[in-house]
């Protein structure tokens, strides 16, 4: 089969060992690449006995079969590991150029094990693979490190950590191409724990589709659909991802002041429209992407960079009660330079603000204090003062001060910018998320708000489980190919299947792909079960289950989780305890997990 190089690069930092091992092609067919292949490899490599920040944990960087083909958005890649924030499976993916370049080096995946004695950089070029001294880079920010290692868009691409990763901050991101992030779950801390500062890739190999004519036809048809969709051809290029800020706020689902309200009175000041009107310099695209949703912005103090995305603008904005777009934007730049997950950072600051306002921590912090934002981020990256608590993530911080319920997280992962009391299906997505509260693994924004594929009642619960499951499986397969989910706003799974068929020369239908998605989702579920997670972890913060929204279009609603969860387990073929039944595991070719499911 074409599409895969058939090679995995396996590096052990403890002894400097560098090996090239063959990719099991049956595994590739079942899990494709990206998130799916990462989960499958992780299953074998990292068991429950491994501490996330120990040398025994691994980082697995994976591309997919369509990566670097030139198919629209075929630039993305994935990292898999065990999370130091959640102790669950960790997967995160990112765009830009680095993923495409890793594929061009001739590897489908890169496994990094062990711990280097002192800081190192991995360099993968046509000349070979080398481990290089990084003493001179340790302590430096992401921007300086990226420049120092010779980042060059289409030729040489840099992935690295900043001070947050070095200091083992549990919400630290890995950054690539300067300002793209593998953010959620703390992969930056895992990289820091290995004394690995950066990975540089330079490649020359091409990923040529098996059926060139059909591939070209699909490029043309996909391009037509992306142009025809107002979301991908107008809304995202014009306003970026924050185009949904006002939309979410209007329906009463924009979490505000640590989810105490679900509408922010100043949402328009931090919206996509405000970004375009006030700070946008130009928009930019990742490799092979016609959507161009990235914002290049400049603040009044002449600072320039990427962002903010919707989630970041919300996290430092509505979540913290802050409406100062310049400060929010600079907070985003600073997180990029420190190597921090903006969602977890902003959400944790909001949590600290509520803890302080309630007198649970001895600090004069309160909602709306824009002037404190940048210091709080630096203090977190360097673990100084209250930043030392925030570096542990919102759950551990809130628990330390006796109020874990004030952490707006699931499985310790901070929630993104949707109040599920106004989007019931989103509540089920968050509660069942394998990596915790996450909108990237089955976002219900489509059906519950944007009418994609059709508008459904956002307050209803009956029938939601099926739609949530389909969206979770779809997200898992998109993350395994690896595509950008924004293509899915205009292009259905059948296009992905036909493109995969054209690339590999082997027939894949849309339903074959959906089964891959279900397989990946179920394997992740079993990974977490092996780590000790149970149905009790499929829940939401008490606030969302028991405190009705106090005003606006979602007034009076809580999340009615129990009936949705029951329907969800039944739909997925799991038992009442949320454990996949043996026949389901056999159907999904996951027989090797049966022992874990029924130990």
């Amino acid at each position: 089969m074409q599409g895969w190089t058939g090679k995995i690069l396996d590096i052990n930092l403890s002894n400097g060992g560098i090996e090239i091992v063959p990719l099991d092609m049956e595994m590739a067919r079942l899990f494709l690449g990206g998130r799916g292949l990462g989960a499958r490899l992780l299953w074998d490599l990292v068991g429950p006995e491994v501490e996330p920040l120990s040398p025994e944990n691994v980082l697995i960087f994976t591309t997919g079969p369509i990566t670097a083909t030139g198919s629209q958005t075929s630039n993305r890649f994935n990292v898999s590991s065990k999370s130091p924030l959640t102790d669950t499976i960790l997967h995160a993916n990112s765009g830009g150029w680095w993923g495409m370049q890793l594929k061009r080096t001739g590897y489908d995946a890169l496994i990094v094990r062990g711990k280097a004695k002192k800081p190192v950089v991995i360099e993968i070029t046509p000349e070979g693979v080398a481990l290089k001294d990084a003493d001179h880079l340790w302590g430096k920010g992401v921007f300086e490190t990226t420049e120092a290692l010779g980042q060059s868009r289409n030729k040489r691409n840099v992935l690295c950590i900043g001070p947050a990763g070095e200091n083992l901050v549990r919400i630290a991101a890995i950054m690539n191409d300067k300002e793209r992030a593998l953010a959620r779950g703390g992969p930056g801390a895992v990289m820091g724990s290995k004394n690995l500062k950066a990975i540089v890739v330079e490649g020359q190999e091409k990923n040529k589709p098996a059926d060139q004519d059909q591939f070209k036809f699909l490029l043309y048809e996909t391009g037509k659909l992306l142009k025809a969709s107002p979301l991908t051809s107008q809304a995202l290029p014009e306003f970026g991802t924050a185009v949904v800020m006002n939309v979410i706020n209007e329906i009463g689902a924009l979490p505000t002041r640590n989810f105490q309200q679900s509408q922010f009175e100043d949402a328009d000041k931090i919206s996509g429209e405000a970004i375009t009107d006030n700070i946008l310099v130009k928009n930019q695209a990742c490799w092979a992407c016609p959507i161009t949703c990235t914002r290049i912005t400049k603040t009044k103090s002449d600072k320039e960079g990427e962002g903010p995305e919707f989630e970041s603008a919300w996290a430092f904005g509505a979540q913290c009660g802050i409406d100062d777009l310049d400060t929010i934007t600079e907070a985003n730049y600073l997180c990029n330079d420190m190597g921090l997950d903006t969602i977890s950072m902003g959400n944790t600051i909001g949590c600290a603000m509520e803890l302080a306002e309630k007198g649970l921590i001895d600090d004069d912090l309160s909602f709306g204090q824009a002037d404190k934002l940048l210091d709080l981020i630096r203090d977190t990256a360097y673990r100084r003062g209250i930043g030392g608590d925030m570096a542990e993530g919102s759950y551990r911080m809130a628990k330390k001060y006796g109020a874990p319920g004030l952490s707006m997280s699931v499985k310790k992962l901070e929630m993104p910018a949707y109040d599920p009391r106004g989007m019931q299906g989103q509540g089920l997505v968050f509660a069942t998320g394998n990596r915790g509260a996450c909108h990237e693994t089955g976002n219900m924004l489509g059906p519950e708000v944007l009418a994609l594929p059709r508008l459904i009642d956002r307050f209803a619960t009956q029938g939601k489980a099926g739609i949530v499951s389909v969206h979770q499986d779809s997200a898992a397969v998109i993350d395994s190919l690896v595509y950008c989910k924004f293509t899915n706003l205009a292009v259905a799974e059948e296009f992905f299947a036909r493109t995969l068929t054209a690339v590999t020369g082997e027939l894949f239908t849309a339903d074959d792909l959906m089964m891959v998605g279900e397989r990946v989702w179920t394997l992740e579920r079993l990974y977490n079960r092996r780590e000790g997670f149970t149905k009790e972890d499929d829940t939401l913060p008490d606030r969302l289950l028991n405190e009705p929204v106090s005003g606006g279009p979602s007034e009076g609603f809580t999340v009615k989780l129990a009936p949705m969860l029951e329907e969800y387990y039944a739909f997925r073929g799991w038992d009442k305890n949320g454990v996949p039944k043996p026949e389901k595991l056999k159907e999904l070719s996951l027989e090797f997990t049966i022992e874990v499911a029924y130990d």
């Binding site: 209803a460 029938g463 389909v470 339903d511 039944a570 739909f571």
Partner: protein
């Protein structure tokens, strides 16, 4: 039990299917999947006059007493849910599409909207054309690659995440078929306006 919101969706779409001529008064059927159950129109209920009591809840897999009242095509619906990621199914009898299916192995839209939405609708042939195992096998297999298919001389099966989505494909199929038929009756040569249109046959 069917809740009020879901009942209203069935009722409204059922009425629209009947009044737009996509099926006869009692023909066709539709269902949704809820958890590990299927809610399906009962056998013989009128599409245009559906009441809450016209729906049957039955298991997704295995047998139960629900099958005594469920639509004749329940076996096909079950097979489709088993083999595809469908959450809703509509089976209707759109007359122009049925007419075209009598002489074609596939219906390829010539209008812009139909090309965008459907690209190609395959036509399958089944000897025992109602509620048979063979029909369940052939139809569900065909729907693994397409969101709507025609059974020659019988009708269409359409799938979606919601009933509304499945209805959209049925409605679009009949529009596509009307345009093909009317253009053929007009007898004039078509001026091709779609780049790569020859590739739709390979879809």
């Amino acid at each position: 039990m069917i809740d009020q919101r879901l009942y209203e969706e069935f009722r409204d779409i059922g009425r629209d299917i009947f009044v737009t001529g996509l099926t006869s008064s009692h023909g066709g059927n539709m269902s949704v999947r809820v958890g590990d159950k299927i809610i399906i129109k009962r056998r013989g209920a009128q599409f245009g006059r559906l009441k809450p009591s016209d729906f049957v809840e039955t298991k997704f897999q295995g047998k139960d007493s629900g099958i005594t009242r469920a639509s004749t095509e329940l076996i096909v619906h079950r097979a489709i849910y088993e083999k595809t990621s469908a959450l809703a199914i509509i089976h209707a009898h759109p007359r122009t599409a049925i007419t075209l299916s009598l002489s074609r192995d596939e219906i390829i839209p010539i209008d812009n909207e139909g090309s965008y939405l459907l690209r190609k609708i395959p036509v399958v042939t089944v000897e025992l054309a109602s509620g048979s195992k063979e029909m369940a096998e052939v139809v569900s297999e065909a729907l693994r690659g397409y969101k709507i298919i025609m059974q020659r001389g019988h009708g269409c099966f359409s799938i979606g995440q919601t009933l509304e989505e499945a209805y959209h494909w049925v409605s679009a199929l009949e529009e596509v078929s009307d345009i093909i038929l009317e253009h053929k009756l007009m007898g004039e040569e078509m001026i091709e306006y779609r780049k790569h249109s020859e590739s739709y046959a390979k879809w």
